[in-house]
Amino acid sequence: MIAFALRRIASMIVVLFALSVIVFLIFFATPGIDPARQMAGRNATPETLAAIRSNFGLDRPLPVQYLTMMDRIVVKRDIESYSNRGVQVIPQIIAAAPVTFSLVFGAAVIWIFASIGIGLLAASLRGTIWDPLLMGVSLIGVALPVFWLGEVANLVTQQRFHDTFLFSWVPPLGYVPLTEDPIGWFTHLVIPWLVLSVLFVGFYARVLRSDIVSSENEDYVRTARSKGITERRVLLRHQLRTSMITFVSLFGLDFAALVAGGALLVEVVFGLPGVGRLTYLSLAGLDLPVIMTTVLYGAFFIVVASALVDILYAFLDPRTRTA
């Protein structure tokens, strides 16, 4: 087990290195691109361009450029925005991270419970009209563009029905830290949580249902039935338990991808000052240092999270543990 974890961590470090190289190549070595002009943002002065060139060693060979970039982003952590002069990027990201985490965490709680509930319900109601109905609704959930769903939610809760008893409690768009006002934190985030979780509820419910239904043909499920344990126990302890293996490994990666920046659309629509919105705001000015740093940190977060998922996965599926 420990050997497995160590091996996984070693491979994680290799991937981290490769990722940083890819990010570097995208921003510094895309053919036909002048990285200085990119980084300076729109309407840059020649002085800024020259400063950037020397700051990032752009006249030196690529490996040196790579090291300079990594030094400024990871070691010195003093990379700063050019279009938004002098603002340091890393503190901004650190300030935005709790917002993103709050958003994704709440949505994840909803999507875990709702999708397990719907998936189990549909699987156990197989043969009735409810199964295709639940799966059809889930498929619609998967098809809705999340940013659009967010806008419609805003339209309904902020304006059209805001003055009715249904949504009068919904505060204006924005964010309140949990530590300042737990109730405000909750009310500000409920609608974003629901919107963000819709896609995942639909998708996970479908995956879970199909896993449970196909486990119906597994020999060990037949064995479980032959033991004379209750149907409920067969479903929960045997079929659901083994189907959770896929569920958990998917969940880890999706959760990580959302924290790393995938929740950007929801943050933008609901005006939540998270990491994704930070990226979005810098898009308008093509503020490359910010984008580059958020992309790199997001990618790092995902790689670390997926290593953790693999180690957790080994706990869930004993076959991989000793293999």
Binding site: V15, A18, L19, I22, V23, I26, F27, T30, P31, G32, I33, R37, Q38, L139, I140, V142, A143, L144, P145, V146, F147, W148, L149, E151, V152, N154, L155, Q158, Q159, L199, F200, F203, Y204, V207, S214, T246, L250, L253, D254, A257, L258, A260, G261, G262, L264, L265, V268, T279, Y280, L283, L286, L288, I291, T294, V295, G298, A299, I302, V303, S306
Partner: protein, 312 residues
């Protein structure tokens, strides 16, 4: 079956966009028409109505008649006409990006699965890494780099405003989602008895690749294709919504929703109609994709697992 009909209706409608714009709506969907007027119930009404307070103005809402059927946007342009043109761009980008992704992925997957050894290890690792990236992060990184100066590799130059840019970006982002299953399929086909028999008979590599392996891998690519189109359209709309996808003056469903944000509370029909079009298109593509899968490859369920994240 119903989904196929719906999809065909959408495609034909968007193909007829120019006819609608010139014959029925009689407006140019790409030129602003701030001082335009239309006739409703015999009365001439301006397309952009000044607000009673004197501050700002409001575009006309849905008229439910031939001109300005769904109302106007802030530029006074016919929303219905833009919706059809936008659908054209969305579908073209979605399909082209899916073709790009599947084509590159098939080649890479075949190469990796067929060569094995170091080549396979390197390619698989690279695919894993790109795959680990959140779709939007990678697309944003590529878009920001390419949108300023365009893409030029040797003789190929792509203008920053071209539809090709989102096609290339989205297509590239989705390569691992197709290449990984293709590679897996190549490996499993290679282990099948008849292929091992062909190898034992000393079949030439090229013959093996094109006669034995490719025909067996193609069905899984075909199965993924409609789902890829759906994922690409969704990604395009999101990037366009963030204004780093399809660039003005071109319109896509994503840019229409983006433009509609400003008038969401006064004229919500702009955003709602475009979003509904996306949702319906994605829904029918997903249903269709499931149908194709059931018809071609009933055991493919496992391989499409990652679809969720692709659309997140």
């Amino acid at each position: 079956m119903l989904s196929l009909v719906v999809l065909l209706v959408i495609i034909i409608a968007t193909l007829l966009a120019p006819v609608y714009a010139s014959r029925i709506a009689k407006t140019d969907p790409f030129a602003s028409n701030l001082s335009g007027t239309i006739v409703i119930n015999g009365q001439t009404v301006p397309v952009i109505q000044p607000n009673p307070t004197g501050l700002g103005s409001t575009p006309i809402g849905p008229t439910w008649q031939a001109q300005y059927f769904l109302g106007a946007d802030t530029q006074g342009r016919d929303v219905a006409a833009r919706l059809l043109y936008g659908g054209r761009a969305s579908l073209i980008v979605g399909v082209a990006a899916a073709v790009v992704a599947c084509l590159i992925a098939t080649i890479i997957g075949l190469l990796a699965g067929f060569s094995g050894g170091m080549i396979d290890a390197t390619i698989s690792r690279l695919l894993d890494i790109v795959w680990a990236f959140p779709i939007y992060l990678l697309a944003i990184a590529l878009s920001t780099v390419l949108l300023v100066q365009g893409l030029s590799i040797g003789p190929i130059a792509v203008d920053p405003g071209s539809l090709w840019l989102p096609v290339i970006i989205i297509g590239f982002v989705f390569v691992p989602y197709v290449a990984r299953p293709v590679r897996g399929e190549v490996l499993s086909v290679r282990r099948r008895d008849y292929v091992e028999a062909a190898i034992a008979q000393g079949a030439r590599r090229r013959r093996l690749l094109f006669k034995e392996i490719l025909p067996n891998v193609l069905p899984s690519v075909i199965v993924i294709f409609p789902l890829m189109i759906a994922a690409c359209i969704l990604t395009e709309s999101a990037l366009s919504f963030l204004s780093i996808g399809v660039q003005p003056p071109q319109a896509s469903w994503g840019t229409i929703i983006n433009g509609g944000q400003a008038q969401l509370y006064t004229r919500p029909m702009v955003s709602i109609s475009a979003g509904l079009m996306i949702a319906i298109t994605i829904l029918v593509l997903n249903i269709l994709g499931d149908g194709v899968r059931d018809a071609l490859d009933p055991r493919a369920k496992l391989r499409l697992r990652r679809r969720g994240r692709a659309q997140a």
